[in-house]
């Protein structure tokens, strides 16, 4: 079985539509993203936010001649690499990044007009042609290389102010006869750095104009919006997830896999439909989980499926969560508490409830509820669990027994399956009988929170020191296959920092295959680094 494209970054833009399995929900979201009102797309890792942004970009590019809306896809995944003494470094970098990507798109579309006055504020200088690298692009590169020499001051004298930027874009649109520019900002806010969230949302609001639409994809658990941005007023907030009880769920997930299947996998998907269904449900609508588990089972045999469910949903899925504790040592205790809460309390109690339900032919559940008066640290721990997708926030302001108000969450269904001794026989029964009406409740003073009061919780301050520590870590921490890591080691790339600092040729040398495949693998390695550093 070939390796799948697990990350959207691995797929070329011109090929992206070949992998798209459109649902009604997806179409609605894409149409909103393409529209003139800003969208905040919220979803956990691997759910497909980046993919939807890219599909929207692809469609807007294809219809550009008709609609004159220029999409500009921007990713903030390199935010973790910015390390300068400037206290507004993040804002400066964001602006330089946005400007650079607008220039890049204009260049690609061949829209440039010689000696354009309106471009001056965006490129940072008067230029007579766009073919050479501009000052703003150099500035952006300097920011993104600042991790190599932290504390180096970067000259931002040619960076436009926010107001100048907005006016410049308006002038540019008029000059180039574009209706508007649609910014598609991915990995928009770092959930563990509140100051970055604050600066991002302030910018999100401030650069809106009739000529600029801003759309952003963020992880759940981003809650710090700054002083001027209000989520419901300043954007349409869309929580992106897939409902496993939707009648088309299995068909859609199978289509998604078939888009990347070779003949052996297509055969297995037909002949071992039940095994596929179990994996599809276990993934809880997250394509990344599904593709990884299918890749691991190789032939979808019943034995392999059982083993993979246990390994992945008891161990692998948690390793992402636990890596956060390694990276953000100030939050380790809280992150660990969250894991223990789910593993020692929520999951076993849900399993007991479902075992009883199945025995008595009653309804089953994957939901639990936490009072809004539960300690703040509990809410923080749940926020982190939402980020990694172990838990999905379902509804706020839900009234439980004793008329208490709280939030309902859904546990990752694969984690429930992983507790079953015979996954094949019980998994599908659990799903078939699911109801939202049942949920385990954890009130304001639940015994389950006993340890939380003793926890020290502080966000780390020293970003630079933390980054240095992360860069020294082994490539084993990266979300790459064993084969990919082996190949990197063969050419002496053993730490995360070395992946970042190795030349293109060096990384491509690790994969002695045709250039097209090597480039894909290089992008995979770098994407894994950015993802790791972003949290």
């Amino acid at each position: 079985m070939d390796t799948f494209f697990i990350r959207t970054e691995d797929i070329k833009l011109e090929e992206i539509s070949e992998y798209f399995v459109e649902t009604k929900q997806d179409r609605e979201i894409i149409n909103k993203i393409k529209g003139s009102s800003p969208v905040l797309l919220v979803g956990s890792r691997g759910i497909g936010k980046s993919f939807l942004l890219r599909i929207a970009e692809d469609e807007m590019l294809k219809s550009f001649e008709l609609n004159k809306v220029l999409p500009v896809y921007i990713t903030f995944r390199k935010a973790s690499l910015i390390h300068t003494p400037d206290k507004n470094q993040f804002l400066s970098w964001m602006l330089s990044r946005i400007c650079s990507d607008i220039i890049r798109q204009i260049r690609k579309k061949g829209l440039y007009v010689d000696n354009s006055v309106s471009l001056k504020y965006i490129v940072g200088e008067y230029i007579d042609n766009l073919h050479q690298k501009t000052k703003i692009e150099e500035m952006n590169e300097a920011f993104e290389d600042s991790w190599k020499k932290p504390q180096t001051t970067i000259d931002i004298s040619t960076l436009p102010t926010v107001d100048n930027f907005v006016e410049a874009v308006e002038d540019l649109c008029t000059e180039l006869k574009i209706n508007r520019i649609n910014l598609l900002i991915d990995e928009a806010a770092h959930i563990f750095i509140p100051e970055q969230q604050r600066q991002f949302f302030t910018l999100f609001r401030d650069i809106r104009s009739p000529f600029i639409t801003v759309n952003a994809a963020v992880y759940p658990g981003v809650t710090i919006y700054g002083d001027t941005f209000q989520p419901t007023h300043d954007a349409t907030v869309i929580n992106y997830s897939r409902d496993v009880s939707d009648k088309n769920y299995l068909t859609q997930m199978k289509e998604l896999v078939l888009k990347q299947a070779d003949s052996n996998l297509a055969k297995a998907l037909g002949a071992r439909g039940e095994q596929f269904n179990i994996l599809a449900y276990a993934s809880a609508g997250n394509p990344r989980h599904l593709l990884k588990t299918i890749q691991a089972t190789r032939n979808l045999s019943s034995l392999n499926t059982n083993n993979i469910i246990r390994e992945y949903y008891r161990s692998d899925i948690w390793s992402e969560h636990s890596i956060l504790a390694e990276k953000y040592s100030g939050m380790k205790n809280l992150i660990d508490w969250g894991r223990n809460f789910v593993e020692d309390t929520v999951l076993p109690e849900l399993k007991r409830k479902n075992d009883h339900a199945l025995k008595n032919k009653e309804k089953t559940t994957t939901y639990f509820w936490v009072s809004r008066n539960a300690p703040q640290l509990v809410q923080e721990a749940l926020r982190i669990l939402e980020y990694t997708g172990i838990v999905t926030g379902h509804s706020k302001g839900v009234k439980a027994t004793k008329s208490e108000i709280g939030n309902r969450y859904c546990i990752n269904i694969g984690c429930l399956f992983a507790l079953e001794s015979a996954v094949a026989s019980s998994a599908l029964n659990i799903v078939k009988n699911l109801t939202i009406g049942k949920m385990n409740e954890y009130g304001a003073n639940s015994k389950a929170y006993a340890e939380i009061e003793n926890i020290d919780f502080n966000q780390f301050d020293n970003l630079t020191e933390n980054l240095e520590m992360q860069l020294d870590k082994s490539i084993d921490f990266l979300d790459l296959t064993t084969w990919q890591r082996g190949k990197l080691r063969e050419v002496g790339i053993v730490t995360i920092g070395q992946v970042l600092s190795s030349s293109d040729e060096k990384i491509m040398q690790a994969y002695y295959v045709a250039e097209k495949r090597a480039r894909q693998m290089r992008n995979s390695a770098l994407a894994a680094v950015y993802e790791y550093l972003a949290g």
Partner: protein, 235 residues
């Protein structure tokens, strides 16, 4: 004996050794399982006797036999070529059977096979419109077969075109375990596709007790996991 006669006889010696090694390796009898599909295919040829597409089906079967012979003799590239031909000609036969104009054009040597039209997502043999015309109950399973057909054809084509990645399998005349197993993997998939496609197209002709009895094990062995097939035989 001339030099070139000695050369050819020498090759036959090599080929004969490879054949022995092939059968020695095949302790699981997968070669005989593949061979038995030949008999299954004969069922369809007998069922469709008299129809215009029968000559294509007979040729297709010959391709399959030749493919197996080439495989046991170590001519791997040619075995994959013939295996691909088996799939292509069978599906082309089915495709022609649905369109009289194309059939007559083909009979008059005015039409060739176009693989892309056979697997066309809108009008091909695995398209919604086609399946709904011939056996709508099976429509839930067609996507897998569409992908299987497309991919296995492409995978066999790598041998036809001599892609770099395939060279290890074909560069020398020698027995290769991995190549032998790979061929059987693809052959198994192709047998599945062919059984499915023939069933979808011609299930209406399986309309007597005798034919139902004869066909059930042949078809169920390959695609009995599909509910619509089980329903066909349960009614």
């Amino acid at each position: 004996m001339s030099t070139f006669e000695q050369f050819y006889l020498g090759v036959m010696d090599e080929v004969s050794k490879i054949q022995e090694m092939t059968f020695e390796f095949d302790t699981n009898n997968i070669q005989s399982k593949s061979y038995s599909f030949h008999r299954d295919f004969v069922f369809w040829i007998e069922l469709l006797n008299g129809r215009k597409e029968i000559v294509l089906l007979k040729n297709a079967l010959k391709e399959f036999l030749v493919s197996q012979i080439m495989l046991t003799q170590g001519f791997y590239k040619h075995s994959f070529m013939c295996l691909r031909g088996f799939l292509e000609q069978t599906l082309f036969a089915i495709q022609l059977s649905t369109n009289e104009i194309h059939m007559h054009q083909w009979l008059a040597n005015k039409k060739d096979v176009f693989w892309s039209s056979i697997i066309d997502p809108d009008n091909g043999l695995f398209s919604k419109s086609y399946i709904e015309a011939f056996y709508p109950n099976i429509s839930d399973n067609t996507n897998e077969f569409s992908v299987m057909s497309r991919e296995v054809y492409r995978e066999c084509s790598e041998f036809v075109h001599g892609n770099f990645s395939i060279n290890e399998h074909t560069i020398n005349l020698e027995f290769r375990e991995t190549t032998f197993s790979l061929w059987h993997e693809k052959a198994d998939t192709i047998q599945l596709i062919i059984t499915f496609s023939l069933f979808v197209r011609y299930n209406e002709l399986i309309n007597t007790k005798s034919l139902i009895g004869k066909s059930e094990s042949i078809i169920s062995e390959k695609i009995g996991y599909i509910e619509a097939v089980r329903e066909f035989y349960d009614r």
